[in-house]
């Protein structure tokens, strides 16, 4: 289709220096884990990048004790302005080492360098910069004149935005005066370990940030540890349920950012070309590994054929391949396990009667890949219209009236995000009001900012990250 072929424009990986193995970051030191170490691989090539320590329950206990000590002796008693200054330092270090973080993130996660460079890393730095400023202004959060930190926060984060999710968790926790034990996802631990190095460069006191790598058992040990005061989790709704059960009956405060199945609603008066860009951005950003992805396209019936034709034309120009190539639009699927799930749900979509469309073009021979995929003739009962695929798979449904659009959009156990495309302001505000979703993007999609609260309704979780709301999740007021 294109007149000129793109020459490869790979970002150099020489900027990163990956050690042959990594330990846990506990009490300011890298230490061996007592669990069985595991490989972290590059999902675009299946190359083993390094060996990473696995934290056992005993390791988690060491980390929690270190965090408790730091909370009681250094971080808690510290002047709030100084806590803020440490966070400003961290923000600056992330900016200074941005290229290194971006390359490492793309290597470990498989996401295009264009996204890790322009979205993940800048937003991570912005989060620390934003919350740094809150550290000495907590009496203005809205929890009374003397809000108190909760203590030790146990945080478990997913693999889709490894560094950014770390920032969303660590920055508000520290600004509020807590200390943290963070478990990164087992397929993407490397930027969290590089972040540990940043903590050392910032001279952050030992024990304030502890990073314990591992799989589900390690996460469970963090969540269930008796001396953890706050649990924050981003991940699947199934695991969220288990965590909510595990903390039941304790005094632990809990926030959950879980799955989604966002409706992206396109009305017949929408500017079609802009809407198509938004649809593409909504579902193919980060290979669709996005809890708030616009995975259900609700298009008004009268413009269905026109939108689908334009969408297919646009998808035909997306470049799938080497995550480190600056031209790449869609990178690798994060793991073999996730690829299997995407394939399974796509096959079910076809078996249930939806029409699968994928653009022509070859995928790389090694690594985990899935082409951008559009299902039309999807009914609301199909599993691809209900289940979170967490991949580059779009389900298209139609509607005739605004009421039908709202009813179909809200017909989900999830309620994380939604999109509206229309030129009519009053309609946008009305529909935004009626959608049961925590984030509504109107004539845009997948925008994030540290000042902007993010989080779900219904089974997409509770609590918000970002803004004043995100800080309140790590504080208690006089009446709490």
């Amino acid at each position: 289709m294109s007149v000129f072929e793109y020459a490869p424009a790979p970002e150099s990986r020489s900027i990163v220096d990956i050690a042959p193995s990594y330990g846990l970051f506990v009490d300011g030191e890298f230490v061996d884990g007592t669990g069985e170490p595991f490989d972290s691989i590059n999902p675009a090539t299946e190359e083993v990048l390094t060996k990473v320590a696995s934290g056992s329950a005993a390791d988690v206990d060491r980390a929690v004790r270190a965090a408790r000590r730091a909370f009681e002796r250094t971080w808690g008693p510290m002047r709030p302005a100084d806590r803020g200054k440490y966070l400003f330092r961290i923000a600056r270090l992330l900016q200074e080492r941005a290229r290194e973080f971006a390359v490492l993130e793309s290597l470990d996660n498989g996401k295009p360098i264009r996204e890790s460079r322009d979205v993940d890393v800048p937003l991570a730095a912005a989060h620390f910069f934003y919350y740094a400023g809150w550290a000495d202004k907590l009496e203005h959060v809205g929890l009374g004149t003397q809000p108190r930190p909760l203590g030790v926060a146990g945080q478990v984060i997913p693999w889709n935005f490894p560094l950014m999710m770390l920032a969303w968790k660590v920055a508000p926790a520290l600004a509020a005066g807590n200390t943290v034990v963070l478990k990164p996802a087992e397929t993407t631990p490397l930027t969290a370990l590089l972040f540990a190095e940043v903590c050392r460069q910032a001279d952050l006191p030992a024990g304030v940030v502890n990073i314990v790598t591992g799989a589900g058992d390690t996460g469970r040990a963090v969540v269930e540890h008796a001396d953890v005061d706050k649990v924050a989790f981003t991940g699947s709704t199934d695991v969220g349920r288990q965590i909510a059960r595990a903390v039941a009956g304790t005094r632990k405060k809990l926030t959950l950012e879980l799955g989604g199945k966002a409706a992206n609603i396109v009305f017949d008066d929408a500017p079609i070309d802009q809407a198509v860009e938004g649809i593409v951005q909504g579902i193919f950003f980060n290979q669709g590994h996005v809890c708030c992805a616009g995975s259900r396209l609700l298009v008004q019936e009268s413009i269905h054929d026109e939108v689908i034709a334009a969408l297919q034309r646009r998808i035909g120009t997306l470049r799938v391949g080497d995550p480190l190539d600056k031209n790449t639009d869609i990178g690798a699927i994060n793991s073999a396990e996730q690829l299997a799930r995407i394939r399974e749900l796509s096959d079910i979509g076809e078996a249930e009667g939806a029409q699968r469309w994928q653009p022509a073009g070859d995928l790389p021979g090694r690594g985990f890949w899935f082409p951008p995929t559009v299902f039309t003739e999807v009914s609301p009962a199909h599993r691809i219209a209900r289940d979170e695929v967490f991949g580059p798979v779009l389900s298209v449904l139609t509607f005739r009236t605004p009421d039908e659009a709202v009813a179909k959009a809200n017909n989900s156990t999830y309620g994380l995000s939604a999109g509206i495309w229309s030129e009519k302001g009053s309609r946008i505000l009305k529909i935004a009001d009626q959608l049961r979703a925590g984030v509504v993007w109107a004539n845009t999609f997948n925008k994030f900012d540290p000042t902007s609260p993010f989080g779900g309704y219904k089974q997409s979780g509770y609590g918000r990250e970002g803004g004043r709301h995100g800080l309140a999740a790590y504080l208690k007021g006089a009446d709490q």
Partner: protein, 290 residues
């Protein structure tokens, strides 16, 4: 209450579901006594089916109540205080009997309960400004956050404070635009039924509040696991069941307001702590451009 030569007409205490006063579909009742153990009334003993009917009613009422203007909701809640004031003596009598309070202490509790409605009535049109606002994002977007009701809230009302405690847990749920299914104090349910009569005549749309007299230990299970309940307030849950209810609530990721270790001092300034657990934050983005 009664003249010397006149035989009093006694009240039948029933449930309040969907704006109507049904008996329990189960036909069950239980005996309610005063603090000294003397018979007061037979109360309806709500069943699982009653709880499920109440959830259906609360869900049905949600769109209208949450969609009403904040000003309107405030006026409706203020109206509850007005109508309560007219029944002041009746509430005093029921509270005094059920809680074993002196007349002056009962009066203080009723006064505080009425004033609490007024306090929450004044909150309805201020929450959005206090809890929401514009977010200064780093880009050409108008971005704002507003608090919204989470939906249907199941409330296990406090067991001790039968009126002030009840109003203190119910009013914040309504002020934030939610609809409620309330399980009253088991042993002291009578002021709740009288409150239902006040609600029914105070412009509160039917189904917005549903009051079930009965056993929180029994009904709590059904409400905590009910898929169409969005949040549970476990304040009046029996201590030995609260953890189990919280675990059941996890099945559908319900918002949970945990039971306090002891029943709180309901005369204290409530703050926002009973409203924020039942509020969602919605953030809306729109590009700015020509």
């Amino acid at each position: 209450m009664i003249g010397n030569d006149r035989l009093a007409v006694r009240k039948t205490y029933k449930l309040y579901v969907g704006g109507a006063f049904p008996r329990s579909e189960s036909g069950r009742t239980y005996e309610v006594t005063d603090a000294k153990g003397h018979f007061l009334a037979n109360a309806a003993w709500a069943s699982r089916k009653d709880a499920r009917d109440a959830v259906v009613a609360a869900r049905g009422a949600f769109a209208k109540w949450s969609g009403a203007t904040a000003y309107n909701r405030g006026q409706v809640l203020y109206r509850v205080a007005e109508v309560m004031e007219g029944r002041h003596a009746q509430f005093c009598e029921e509270v005094a009997a059920g809680e074993g309070l002196s007349a002056s202490k009962a009066r203080a509790a009723v006064d505080a309960a009425i004033d609490r409605w007024v306090w929450y009535a004044g909150w309805t049109d201020k929450l959005a400004a206090v809890l929401g606002g514009a977010n200064p994002v780093a880009g050409p977007y108008f971005d704002f956050s507003t608090p919204e009701p989470t939906g249907v809230v199941a409330v296990l009302a406090p067991q001790q404070s039968s009126l002030l405690g009840l109003v203190s847990v119910l009013a914040p749920v309504l002020a934030t635009g939610n609809t409620a299914v309330v399980v009253t104090s088991k042993e002291r349910p009578l002021p709740a039924v009288t409150l239902a009569e006040v609600l029914a005549t105070s412009d509160v749309p039917g189904g917005v509040v549903n009051l079930l007299t009965g056993d929180a230990a029994e009904l709590g299970t059904w409400l905590a696991e009910h898929a169409d309940v969005d949040a549970v307030d476990l304040t009046g849950a029996p201590a030995h069941r609260a953890m189990e209810f919280e675990r059941e609530a996890a099945g559908t990721i319900k918002r949970v307001l945990r039971a306090p270790t002891a029943e709180p001092d309901w005369t204290a300034d409530p703050g926002l702590a009973r409203m924020t657990p039942f509020l969602e934050t919605k953030t809306v983005w729109h590009p700015i451009g020509l």
